[in-house]
Every structure is written in structure tokens, then in C-alpha cells.
């Protein structure tokens, strides 16, 4: 039996110094421990830390504690009013029971649903056993990524919340032995490359304390659109988070991020470049979608994601600029 120690941290410093795996809502970690994928020797419960508030900052931005539950965040008045894309993304994910447990920090660190990662009978998984190979390549790959993949990993990043935060250009604030650091969400997530086991910029022992969102852009509209086989409780085949501002029929500001298609929450800079300053028309939306997917590398079963992602982008842009 895999035994482990458990302690409850009383302060951020104490948690960071403990040297164990942090556990918040446990919706990912406990699952993976049952599967034998995660085998921590020490669990440090951080749900008691004073990181559960949502506060407006002096610069008009928002500070979200790492322990804020997904349900609470989704239904927070400021989030609903000013960061609607985030509320929509949160509510499209998982189930009410899971959202009641899952935390902001934990959601950012959610691990892939790749079935070969989650089943330890496959020794060849570069995320679990660096250098062992990738069982997903050549296996059942309908749900796998088409952007940001490498010869060593094609696993999809599963989070909806992180996609919305990517479009909102959030910053992740971490604390650890070396003090406090702020990491843009773009820098936080790593491409798999030749080291798929390194998924983010956290150093050993570092703890996510907060996420900050910049002040909401006045006059912008926000949309999160998630496409999947069934109506609820399924990871995205593709999703799009859009923040857009138009005036005089032209696009003055736009941020596009994609879920379900990338090995990390996928910022579609190419789409934004196509759109900036252009009339908000179907032709430009389609051109933006083409640009976003131009580097897509589908596997044997997920070629449809390329077209589906394009349509998702077009619909989200259409709604956000209507």
C-alpha cells in the first residue's frame, strides 16, 4: 500500500517550507493517487490558508485567492459582471459537485485526461516516466491535442478556466523558498517539447497564492464557447475564449484563447493579428480562425478538431462583436 503523511498548513510560509505535495480540493490529485499515477509521500493540505478572497485591486484589477472554489468564483458578482468569460468557462467545466471542491490554484495545475497518462499499466508515458516514450501516439487519439504537440507528447490541457484566464491575460503569483514571484499565464504553462513532465514554471516547493486579472477593458464583450459531444460533463473537443471591443464596426481590441486543442491553454496571437483594426465581418473571423489553426498537426482520429476549432472561433467572435 502506498502510505503518505498528511498535515494541514497554517501559513503560506509553513506550507512552502513543508516540502510535500499541496492538496486543495483534491479533485485531480486524489483521483490520480487512486490510479497510482501520483504517489506523493507527503500531502500538505492548504485549504486552511487565508487565500480564499476575491478583492478588487487599487489599479482596478482583481486578486483571486488560490483557495477560492470554482463555484464561488463562477458566481462571484464581479466575475459575472466584469469577467464573464471566466464565469462561463468555469460553469462549462466538470460538474457542480466537482466545482464545489475544486480550487483556483488546483484548476491551474489540473493534469491531462490522456488515458495513457492515467493508466500506469502503460510504462511509456513521458509525463510519468521521462524518456519512456508516448503510448498516445498511435493509440486512441480522438481527444488529443493538435497544437503545441511534440514527438514526445500529444496530451491536451484539460482546463476551461485557464483558457479564459489566458484570454484575460492573468498573472499567477507564487511563493516559495526564494520569495514571491509573478508569472504571466503565458509564461506559466510550458510546451511539452522534449520534457513533457515539466508542465509549468513552478519551482519545487513553490505555491500558487493568487491569480490577478488586469482591470476589465471598458466596453469589451466576452464569450466562452465550448463544443463537445454531450451537453454537460465532458472535456472540450474545442473551446474558445474571446474578449473583444469594437467601435464603428471595427475591432479595436481582441484576445482569443483556445481550449481542447492545445497541449497548454492556447493563446491565438495569429488570430488576433488578423483581426486588429479590421471590420468585424464573417470573412475576417474565418481568416482569423484559419490563422489560428495554420500550424495544427492532427493525429489519425482528430483531424475534425481543426475545422471544429475554426467554427468555434468564428462563432465566439461573432457573438462577442454582435
Amino acid at each position: 500500500m502506498q502510505s503518505f503523511s498528511y498535515s494541514k498548513a497554517q501559513s503560506v510560509d509553513q506550507a512552502a517550507a513543508a516540502g510535500g505535495r499541496f492538496i486543495g480540493g483534491g479533485t485531480t490529485l486524489v483521483d490520480l493517487m487512486k490510479q497510482g499515477v501520483e504517489t506523493p509521500k507527503m500531502l500538505v493540505d492548504i485549504t486552511g490558508l487565508p487565500l480564499s478572497s476575491v478583492e478588487t485591486q487599487p489599479d482596478g484589477g482583481l486578486l483571486i485567492g488560490a483557495m477560492v472554489r470554482n463555484s464561488d468564483l463562477a458566481h462571484h458578482e464581479t466575475i459575472k459582471a466584469q469577467y464573464a468569460v471566466l464565469s462561463q468557462a468555469l460553469l462549462s467545466g466538470a460538474s457542480p459537485q466537482l466545482r464545489n471542491m475544486a480550487t483556483t490554484g488546483g484548476n491551474l495545475l489540473q493534469r491531462t485526461r490522456c488515458p495513457y497518462f492515467r493508466d500506469t499499466s502503460y510504462s511509456n508515458c513521458n509525463k510519468r516516466n521521462p524518456g519512456s516514450g508516448c503510448a498516445a501516439i498511435g493509440g486512441h487519439n480522438r481527444m488529443m491535442a493538435i497544437l503545441g504537440t511534440s514527438a514526445d507528447c500529444i496530451a491536451t490541457h484539460p482546463s476551461d478556466m485557464a483558457v479564459a484566464m489566458t484570454a484575460l491575460e492573468a498573472t499567477v503569483h507564487v511563493e516559495g523558498a526564494k520569495g514571491k514571484r509573478a508569472i504571466t499565464i503565458a509564461d506559466f504553462y510550458k510546451l511539452p517539447g522534449t520534457a513533457p513532465n515539466v508542465e509549468n514554471a513552478l519551482e519545487p516547493g513553490e505555491l500558487i497564492a493568487h491569480v490577478t486579472l488586469p482591470a476589465p477593458r471598458k466596453g469589451s464583450k466576452q464569450v466562452y464557447l465550448k463544443l463537445r459531444d454531450r451537453a454537460s460533463y465532458e472535456f472540450a473537443l474545442t473551446s474558445a475564449a474571446v474578449v473583444a471591443e469594437t467601435s464603428g464596426g471595427h475591432i479595436r481590441f481582441v484576445r482569443v484563447a483556445l481550449g481542447g486543442v492545445g497541449t497548454r491553454p492556447w493563446r491565438a496571437h495569429e488570430a488576433e493579428t488578423v483581426l486588429m483594426g479590421k471590420p468585424a465581418t464573417a470573412a475576417h473571423f474565418r481568416a482569423a480562425a484559419e490563422a489560428a489553426l495554420k500550424d495544427a498537426k492532427p493525429q489519425s482520429e482528430n483531424g475534425f478538431k481543426v475545422e471544429l476549432a475554426k467554427r468555434c472561433i468564428v462563432r465566439a467572435l461573432t457573438t462577442a462583436t454582435a
Partner: protein, 757 residues
Amino acid sequence: MASTTSSPNGTSPNGTSPHGIIGRPVSRIDGPLKTTGAAQYAADFHLTGTVHAVPVQATVGNGTIRSLDVSAARSMPGVLDVLHHGNIERIYRAVPNDPSATVSETRPPFEDNRIYYWGQYVALVVAETLEQATAAAAAVQVEYSAETPSVNGELEPFAGKWHTVSSRGKVDDAFAAAAVQVDQTYVTPVETHNPIELHSTVASWVGDSVTFYESTQGVVNHRNAMAQILGVPRENVTVVTRFLGSGFGGKLFPWSHCALAAVASRRLQRPVKLVVTRTMMFSNVGHRPLTEQRFRIAASADGKLVALRQDALNHTSMVDDFDEGCGEATPYLYSVPNLTVTSALVQRNVGSPAPMRGPGAVPGLFAMESAMDELAVALKMDPVELRLKNDATIDESNGQKFSSRHLRECLETGSAKFGWSRRTPGVGSMRRDGKVLGWGMAAASWGAYRFGCSTTVELGADGKARARCATQDVGTGLYTIFAQVLSEKTGLPFERIEVLLGDTTMPEGPLSGGSWSTATVLPAVAGAADNAIASLLQIAASTPGTPLNGVDAKTLRLTEGRIHRSTDAPAQGVPFESVLAAARLNGVSGDSTSGSAFEDPKTKALSMHSFGAQFVEVEWEPEIARLRVSRVVTVIDAGRIINPRAGANQIKGAVVMGVGMALLEETVYDPRNGQPINGNLADYLMATSPDCPEIDVTFLDYPDYALNSYGARGIGEIGLAGVAPAIASAVYHATGVRVRKLPVRIEDLLQSEIREA
């Protein structure tokens, strides 16, 4: 989910239902036990001294065990025993083709070192706690000589022997000469039964007898099979299934884990609990097999069928011949002079398939009703009209009369309730609120059966009526059916009625499958109640010191729980329990045994089936390839409905299952090792609450008195029949994409040439 239910032809059977309890929409009597958590399912039995068993599964899909090292596992904390092919004591095979003792897998567990499918049990670890057993199971070291398994999802080309299921006329000549022809192949995928209650066995040996607390759809069959497998007399085996968290056919017959738990308990002389995990459910306890069916269907230019040929393949395991029976409904559903149905099996490295709700007919009707829709398109004919034009008046496969067939009224009623006359036939021609609408329909059918059943009814001095029967309520409302009959016969309210099921020490009742439970138990419980009442009235007529002593028993009645003269009101009579008390009796009982319809001269000469019609609306957003089922109208001709509330609940559940079959469900095997790679409830998609359409259920409620005196048939499977082809036809109507391989996926819908609503 909005829904409605109606029964336009409701009549009281035999005109004898004093307070109308038969046919009344009543709540299930076991509801409070379930909603409060008091109902005990198999895994809820915690016997003193219970130990836990966890199987070890093969990680290859084809090969042999080269070495199996249990030394590490054996020495781990709490471990009591590790069983495998090298040390298992003799377990016997069940007698082949013995209908009283059917098993799911011919090969007993651990019979040899061969691996036939991924996940096959190779060892069993027993430990004091579940956690210890789980940890030790992971420490068993197995090495294999592995070969690539055959899990190919395509069954053609097939070079083996075909078996003729039904044949009349000259189908190939008629097809070739016909004005309009459709020749297409339809595929239904592997579907996994996913009852929320996991398969569970608690086996407890005491001396030379064993008791099973089981999740089974057939306690009697389970007892008989276990007696054969364990090599003990039937009377030494008891099987208890008080409640079942459903089974959908997957729990009809015993699986390997049941025998393993019993053998472990016999060795250790302690109760052993074995709960199959959800992942194991995808490999070790059955599935609906892959089917591939070629349909050739032809008609005259005015839409009269002239030829119908079905050649159906289904996969099976390497060691069991499981025939899905896709030709179940084909020979009798329509009038067609030239017809041939053939079938054959293709072996794959998968666990044994098992019956799944509507086996044979449900995948068979997906193919046939899809082909009928394609024929209607080719004929430029309305699909309802095509079915009406080819309605059968007799069963043309054998010349028999139907006991009761109202398919025409199902189609007409459904058409009217759905508003079918407003349908425009052009692909993508109907729109609403920025979405394209697709309307599709299909006919449905399922057999009507009655098997043998024995029941005891007791009228107690405590003022209660009790029924006992060794059948089981799989969650659909059988307890309540018994209670309704007892209430009808005695006039007692449900509060004074007890129904005891799911225990082989009681009189033998039926397996819960094939939609036959209600039709099977009704005659037995009614007969037993009549016999108990007759004895009671004799006692009332002959017990000194009681008011009716000396009265001719023939003139006495039991009404509202009171014994009275037939010429008096019940209030003038006496409570039956007071008569029993005066007679110093604890109670009086009656037994009854009713027979099988297969041995009944009245029913043997009749073709007995239920019928139905499914009408479906889908909403299609072409811009984002999003398709949802928005509305289903289902009309069911299943005889007299004893409890329309529980009945409608079953039909609605079946329709939702049909949504899953049409759009979501598919077990996917990794071709490299044969593992069901989406073996969990997140990755294997079933319909969720937001996927449920608005469902309108109508029971025609025509009694079928050939089957039993209540006129009841059964409703467990008919609600699923026809749903998937109706959805696929609606998908075609909305998108122009004809999907012949389920499930309909976004990949298919992206092919639509309709790009905006």
C-alpha cells in the same frame, strides 16, 4: 426534462378491480427505502469477519501467462490468500445448454494459462481490508507471451458459415427485379452496460453451504449455476438479491468473479466481498457486441415492399458463441413476400458479450428502420406512409395470428401527437430560432413472453398480506406490481402489504429479462392470493365463536380487509385478522404455480409481440456542428399497463438510453493490446440530464388477454427499440448526412453541406 404520459384506451381488466389499483399510476413501494438509503444492495451486506477480494487483470489481450509471481503480494500486510491458475481448486464448468443454469462465460476463471482478452482475471488477492487487497493485487508480478489481439472493428470480409434465421419466397430474384432498391450496411458499436450499482458478490460459506448476496437479475439461475460450478447440491446454495441498482442484461447470468469469491470463501471459511470496479465493468462483465448488418430492401414504385434481406454479423469472444440475434424483429414487422435473414459470428479478443436491453431487436431495428427511411427517400414517400402501407396483418414468418398488434395506431397516434403532418421532406428545410430542425421516426417491436412462476401469499394475524417469490426487482417496480395485485385481491392498502423477493429460499420465480417479469408473475401472485383467500373464507365459515361461523364459505367475500357475506356491505363484516386470531392461527397461506407461454396451447399458436413508434426532433446548429435531441414522442402498444407511473418512467429511461446509443456510446479498444481505452464514466459518454429531450409517452393500453388474465405484456426494452434509427433519420433530415455507423459523431456532422441555419 418535460414529459407527459397518457393511456387513451385504459380499461379495467376483467372488469374486476374494486378500487382500481390495477392500472393506477402509483408510487413504487420501495421508493422510501431507496431515497433514505435503507435499501440493502449486495455490497451493503457487511457480515462479521468479512474479508475483501480484488482480482488482478491481464494487461495483454491475447497470449499466455509465462510466469506469475505472487511472493511479494503474499507477504504483504493483511493478505490471506492469492488464487491463480496454478493453485485454484477444482471449479467445474456449468452444464452446456442447461436453461436452468446459464452462465455468461463457458470458461471458468483460472482454468489454464491462456489469455483471451485484455483484463481477463489472472489472479485473485484476498486480504483483511479492501486497501490491503488492492495494494497486494498491484504487487502480483505477471509475465506474458503476448500476441497482437484481434479487436478489429470491421467484421467484413467474412468467409465463415452463415446461418439462416428466417426465409420465405425468392428474395434475391425479387430484389434484382424491383423498381426501387436500397442496399446498405449498418454498424452498431460495442456498448458497455453501465448500471450505477457495480457487480458485487458477497459469498459466505458456513459448513458445506454457501450464501451469496449478489447483484443478479436471476437469483434462481444464479443458485443453479453456482451449484454446478462449485460442485455442491442446489439446496446448499442460497442467493439473495433484495435490491438491484439495475443491470440492463449484464447481470442476467453469473460472471467469473462470482465463483472466485465463493472459492475464496470456501478456502478461508470467512465471508468474502468482491466488488468489480468500473474499469473492470468495461472488460469482464459483458457488452453489447459490435454488429455489422447488410440490408437489401426493395419496393415497387408505389412503395409496396417486395424483398427484404438482412445479413447480420456480430462479434463474439474467442471462447463463447454469443449470437446477438439482430434478425429478431425483421421477419414479422412488415408484410413482404420475399425475405431472408441470415447471421454469423466473428471471433474477437474481447470478453464475452451479454444481452443488453433489447438484444438483437435494438441493433437490428437500427439497421432495418434506417434502411426503411432510405427507401422512403428513394421512393419520395413519407416514411410513416411507407410503414402504414406495409403493415402486416399476420406474422408472415410462420402464418400465425398476432395476439394483439396495434402498430398502425402507434404510428397514427404518434404522428398526430408529434405534428408530423407539418413536416416538409426537404433536407434542412425546417428552421426554428436560428436552428435547423430534423424530424425522423421509426417503428419498434419487442417480443412478449411468459415463463413459469411460483408464489406464496400469506394473510397474517397481524392484519397484513404478504407475497413471497424468488424473483427480483431490478429497480423497475416489480415489488409494486405484486403489491397492486395483493391490494386488488384483499382490498388492503399498501401499508398493510409486504412483498418479499430476491431470495432462493422462496418459491421459484423468473429471471428479470426479456421484458417478461410482469406478465410472468401476475398469474402466480393472483392465483396464490385467490387460494389464500379461499382458505381464509373456509376458516371464517368454520371457526366457533366468530360471527360468520356456519355460513356457507361460498357466499363470503374479502373486501377492504374484511370478511363479509356477499349480500352485505364490507362494513358489516369482520376484520380478517380477528377471525385468524379467534382460530388461533398465525396466518393462512396459498400457493400457486403458473406455466410458461411456450407450453400453453392457447399461446403457442399465436405470435406475441409489443409494438411502438418513435418520433424524434433534433436541433442542429450547422455553424458549430452542434446537434441535440429536443423532443421525442413515443407511443407504446405493450398490452395493459399495470402501473403507468413506473411504466412511463421505464420508457423515458429507455428513450434517454436511445439518445446515448444514437449520439454518444461506444467502447473503444486500443488496437495494440485490446484494452477498452475509454473504460470509465468520464471518457465513455452516456447521456447526462442536459442531454435529455422533452419526452411524451403514450401507452395504447390494449389488453393482451392471450398472455395472462390481466392483459399485461412488458415494457423493459420496447422503449429503446427504434429510438436510434429515428434519431439517425432526423439527423439526415436536418443535415443531409446519412450516418450508418453509430454513434452519430461531430465528425460525421461536419460533412453536412448545410453550413448555416
